[in-house]
Amino acid sequence: AQRVTQPEKLLSVFKGAPVELKCNYSYSGSPELFWYVQYSRQRLQLLLRHISRESIKGFTADLNKGETSFHLKKPFAQEEDSAMYYCALSVGDNSGAGSYQLTFGKGTKLSVIP
């Protein structure tokens, strides 16, 4: 069964410092990975997906299949980055219908100190 591990429950950094939120996964197939962010009292929002190799709000994440990791990075943290961050892995359904389920990590709370 697939698993997503986010080892840090809480990460505190100073404004302007680099940020790295760790995510490791275990899955025997070819994974598709995402980062979701949840700002205080708001909904889960898609931040990044590995297939698009994009940079959103200054965040990037590279899939490292050798290390089975998908760490989220930002060179200079901002106060507005304070939020819960969830790494998630998608698995296609067994019926082949095309829907898929996400397996989430437990999340890391990022706190950016002014």
């Binding site: 909904r43 929002q45 998608s90 095309g98 829907s99 898929y100 389920q101 996400l102 989430f104 437990k106």
Partner: protein, 114 residues
Amino acid sequence: EPEVTQTPSHQVTQMGQEVILRCVPISNHLYFYWYRQILGQKVEFLVSFYNNEISEKSEIFDDQFSVERPDGSNFTLKIRSTKLEDSAMYFCASSESRQGSGYTFGSGTRLTVV
């Protein structure tokens, strides 16, 4: 930007009662999902729905749970006889296509069973 809408935002119910959680997915999305998050725990997959039928469900999604798309716009989750351990945040989500596109989540319904 299109949103997934969930109602109510908070529901309190007595143990043993039936509850219906409602969701309006994004109109051109084809795949619909329910997830839940018990306080302090990870977001967990419950069920996926496509082409008017369940395409995948987790072990959590037992006979107490059912889903329905009664009128082409709403997507509901029914819990037949609530238990204390059903208290959680329930998130509805929808996606446009297969894996890789990411979900759009609703803001959630907080269910409290007393």
